[in-house]
């Protein structure tokens, strides 16, 4: 099964929390920006792709037990969010690619 590390390498993601555990296996992918919606539909072990960048991203990621978060389209995390993902051991990445391009690549990694 693919891990966060595989994903990071294949997508050339920028890692914003080098201390996070990147050996965790991935169970699928969820895409969304409306936090309550994501809260209802994201699932344990998923890769969550979003363009949200504020501190609430950390709470949603940990409550849904997402494996990692990818912030797409070149969006950069707020300082609050950076501090929180470090405190809570959440893997957070950024990518200049569009949500669509990332989704295709995530699909390839999950099915490799």
């Amino acid at each position: 099964m693919a891990t966060i590390k595989n994903l990071q390498q294949q997508l050339e993601l920028i890692n914003h929390n080098p201390d996070a555990d990147c050996d965790r296996e991935l169970s699928g992918c969820y895409i969304g920006d409306l936090l309550s919606w994501v809260m209802a539909h994201a699932f344990s072990g998923c890769v969550w792709i979003t363009i949200m960048s504020n501190i609430n991203v950390a709470a949603v990621a940990s409550l849904t037990d997402a494996a990692c978060v990818i912030m797409a389209e070149g969006v950069q995390p707020d300082q609050d969010l950076l501090d929180r993902v470090k405190r809570d051991d959440i893997a957070l990445f950024t990518s200049p690619l569009s949500v669509y391009e990332i989704a295709i690549k995530v699909h390839d990694v999950l099915n490799a």
Binding site: L34, S36, A40, N54, N56, A58, L63, T64
Partner: protein, 141 residues
């Protein structure tokens, strides 16, 4: 196990603290050995309620009572109250401001999520006085 009581004051001004109380309850439930599904449901219900207190009601008090077979969450605020509770229950209904929407809130999914993930939910609200949300999450083993 005796009933455990936890209490949190939710600051309505501070968005950076939103979600802290639910994260703490999640930690406690984990330590007590509750199963993953129960923890997830309780944490989601509490997070949605906590955020509502912050974005719609400028804060409040949360009491959590933990039993081996159920978690009871009581969230009381002295905010504006809910004008039309029938509408508020509907998926997609929101009165969230643009500022709050820019943060990713305002899908109108908070109350539907709380209903979906709790085993019991009751809301008492009075315009100009405030809102109290009571939820019970039962373990399913």
């Amino acid at each position: 196990m005796d009933k455990i009581h936890l209490q949190y004051n939710v600051d309505g001004e501070d968005f950076t603290l939103a979600g802290e109380a639910s994260s703490d309850v999640r930690r406690v439930l984990r330590k007590l050995g509750f199963d993953g599904d129960t923890i997830r449901r309780a944490a989601i219900c509490m997070y949605e309620g906590e955020i509502n207190m912050v974005i719609h009601a400028s804060g409040g008090v949360i009491d959590v009572y933990i039993d081996p077979d159920s978690i009871e969450i009581i969230m009381a605020d002295t905010g504006p109250g809910i004008a039309d509770i029938e509408k508020a229950w509907q998926e997609g209904y929101t009165t969230a401001s643009q500022t709050v929407r820019d943060l990713g809130f305002g899908a109108g999914m908070g109350l539907p999520n709380m209903k979906r993930y709790s085993d019991f939910i009751d809301i008492e609200t009075e315009l100009g006085k405030g809102t109290t949300v009571k939820m019970i999450i039962k373990t399913r083993s």
